[in-house]
């Protein structure tokens, strides 16, 4: 039933036919498991880099881009660590969040315009009391990105930034850059940049079929 009810990404990603990197970890990078085995395998440290900025560049809403970060966020809240959504473009929908395992008591939303959003995100990252800060700042400039990267380092928090895929070509100080795109009715995840990753050309991951 669930296979129909919810395209179970774990099943898709863990399918033997899909490329999977061997499980050896890069010890230099501390990371938070993404919850997706095959994605973890492709990332240094085996997950979202901690104390660093990750960028998720997506082509359209509704490709599964949030699904990518949900397992990690859910795990954080279950450990009673706070997750902050800064300037989300829609209502984060409680029933789906709860179904994904998020403990809503540790999820906060900051509603702010673009300047205030960047400031808020920075404050949260720096405070040291947030596990992850997830922002939607489509127009952020390089300088601000840099500040976020620094703030994440200061507060040892996981920063995740969602931006339109059109920014993929721009330079970015982020430690990790992923691109989510759609082709042939399926969603693919492309690792554009990963600090500490040896290979430069990473294969695509096919996530939603």
């Amino acid at each position: 039933m669930n296979a129909i009810a919810s395209p179970n990404l774990a099943q898709v990603l863990d399918h033997p036919g899909i490329w999977r990197r061997s499980a050896d970890r890069q010890p230099r990078v501390r990371a938070l498991s993404t919850g997706w085995t095959s994605l973890d395998a492709k990332l240094p440290g085996g997950g979202w880099p901690q104390g660093a900025l990750s960028e998720i560049l997506f082509e359209h809403d509704g490709l599964g881009e949030l699904d990518l970060v949900m397992p990690a966020l859910a795990a954080l809240t279950q450990e009673h660590r706070r997750v902050i959504f800064v300037a989300p473009p829609y209502l984060p929908y409680a029933p789906a969040l709860a179904a994904a395992g998020v403990d809503l008591r540790f999820l906060h939303e900051i509603h702010a315009g673009s300047t205030e959003a960047a400031w808020s995100m920075e404050q949260c990252l720096r405070s040291g009391c947030c596990g992850a800060v997830v922002g939607w700042l489509p127009d952020i400039d390089y300088r601000s990105l840099r500040r976020l990267q620094l703030a994440a380092e200061t507060g040892d928090a996981c920063a995740m930034l969602f931006r339109p895929a059109t920014h993929a070509a721009q330079n970015s100080p982020a430690a990790l850059r992923l691109k989510v795109s759609n082709s042939d009715e399926a969603t693919y995840v492309d690792v554009l940049k990963s600090r500490g990753l040896l290979t430069t050309t990473a294969p695509l991951l096919r996530m939603r079929a």
Binding site: L91, P95, L104, R105, A112
Partner: protein, 469 residues
């Protein structure tokens, strides 16, 4: 020793009506849950014939517009403690005599306040200013003062003989003996205290028990009366619940004034100040608005505290009418002049969440920070709300999108594939937002997965309501 007793006959009434000033005929209810009777009525209600001891139905029959509130004993205790805090400035030994009296030893303070008439005047005017009607009596014996405060307002009897003379003539019903004892004694034909003062002690003890005899001793000063001394608490927490919802900040000022006044009383008793307190307004569905009032320096004046809180409250946009107000002051520092600005820049690391939260609110406003909670409702737009998340409610086994559009919008172009559905939702007739829709999970031409609905029985007019992001 001179014990003054203050009695507040209207205390239960005031406590029950603490939230809003009573307007029009009002009455207080007391008794068992099954049979609650009118315990007190204001003058307007009395003019309609509403009397103590009537049933609500009977009272309503006389006065249909009667506003009745149940008795709230917790609120009474808090109110009495608040008054005790204020009295603390006149005496080092203040004692609560619930439900509605306060005893204080004033013999030691008489000189400080230039004698009884001046002290009494200060007590009376201070209490009236705070809106507490009262009666007052003073004798060398606390128990006798307590009795006379009830029946002989204003009586001062500094000498023992005078007290005994007055007591002797007192009807048993006013003696302070329990109702059952009084009934029992009356059944034996006794009417006044003098009738039983002359009874042989062992025979009397057998009839009204040791407690009764001990009371008679106490009112005559024949045995010591150890009264527990009230101590001002180290923090302040008071909450007033409203019977109906109050919309906007204006109606909230009445309870707010009451709360800040109580806070000031406590501060006076502690000889301290407050630098930061929190007002919380509770709304329906567990939502609440939190207002932090912080000052550059500790304050203690009732009026100043009220003004500060009022300004902050009036600047806040309340998302919904309020059901309750709460004032919490955790730290009551010693009163001293300010040393530094509260909002000076702080180093970024090592903040706790409340501090970060407050900082964000200070800049972005209270409305910018919110939490998301689940609501058990079949209607998608009602299945969540902003507010403090409660315990997890049952989750229906249905797939829901992570993004919900704030309001559904027409979907252009039409979807290219239906992945699941229809899921028919018909619910919500009771609150005016009856929904009747067939929901589908669809795929768009761009490969997005969307949550969209159609009115039942139609083929077009797709409305987009969410993204499976």
């Amino acid at each position: 020793m001179l014990w003054a007793c203050l009695r507040f006959p209207g205390l239960a009434f005031s406590a029950a009506f603490a939230a809003t000033p009573e307007a029009g005929p009002s009455a207080l209810l007391d008794g068992h849950a099954r049979q609650r009777l009118i315990a007190a009525a204001n003058e307007e209600a009395a003019a309609f014939g509403v009397r103590r001891g009537q049933s609500v139905a009977a009272a309503r029959a006389l006065c249909p517009a009667l506003d009745v509130r149940p008795r709230d004993r917790d609120a009474e205790t808090r109110l009495l403690a608040g008054i005790a805090a204020w009295c603390y400035q006149f005496s080092g030994h203040v004692s609560l005599a619930p439900p509605q009296a306060i005893l204080m030893e004033v013999g030691a303070s008489l000189r400080l306040f230039d004698g009884w008439p001046v002290l009494a005047e200060r007590l009376r005017s201070g209490l009236l200013e705070q809106g507490h009607p009262h009666t007052l009596a003073a004798t060398p014996f606390a128990a006798a003062s307590w009795i006379f405060a009830a029946s002989e307002d204003g009586m001062v009897l500094p000498e023992r003989e005078g007290v005994l003379r007055m007591l002797a003539a007192l009807p048993l019903t006013r003696s302070g003996l329990s109702a059952s004892m009084v009934k029992s004694l009356q059944a034996m034909g006794f009417r006044r205290l003098e009738d039983i003062f002359r009874l042989p002690r062992p025979e009397l003890t057998r009839r009204i028990g040791r407690d009764g005899v001990a009371w008679l001793d106490r009112i005559r000063g024949q045995s010591a009366h150890a009264l527990p001394a009230w101590q001002p608490p180290a923090s302040f927490l008071q909450r007033i619940e409203f019977d109906s919802e109050l919309d906007g900040s204006q109606p909230l000022l009445f309870p707010l004034r009451r709360l800040t006044r109580e806070l000031a009383n406590l501060l006076a008793a502690r000889d301290g100040g407050v630098q930061r307190f929190t007002l919380t307004l509770e709304h329906a569905r567990g939502q609440s608005t939190r207002i932090v009032v912080a000052m550059a320096a500790p304050q203690r004046e009732a009026e100043r505290l009220f003004e500060l809180a009022r300004t902050r409250l009036e600047r806040t946009t309340l998302p919904a009418p309020a059901r309750a107000i709460e004032l919490v002051a955790e730290e009551l520092p010693v009163f001293r002049p300010p040393l530094r600005d509260l909002f000076e820049p702080v180093r970024g690391d090592g903040l706790d969440w409340p501090t970060l939260d407050e900082r964000l609110r200070a800049r972005l406003g209270d409305a910018a920070l919110r939490q998301i909670a689940l609501v058990a409702d079949h209607r998608p737009e009602r299945a969540m709300r902003y507010g403090t998340p409660g315990p997890v409610v049952s989750l229906p086994r249905r797939r829901r999108p992570l993004w919900l559009l704030p309001r559904p919008m027409p979907m252009r172009p039409d979807p290219v594939a239906v992945l699941a559905g229809p899921e028919r939702i018909e619910s919500g007739w009771w609150d005016g937002a009856d929904a009747r829709r067939d929901y589908y999970i669809v795929r768009t031409v761009e490969g997005q997965q969307a949550w969209a609905y159609l009115p039942p029985g139609t083929l077009d007019g797709w409305m987009l309501h969410g993204w499976f992001a």
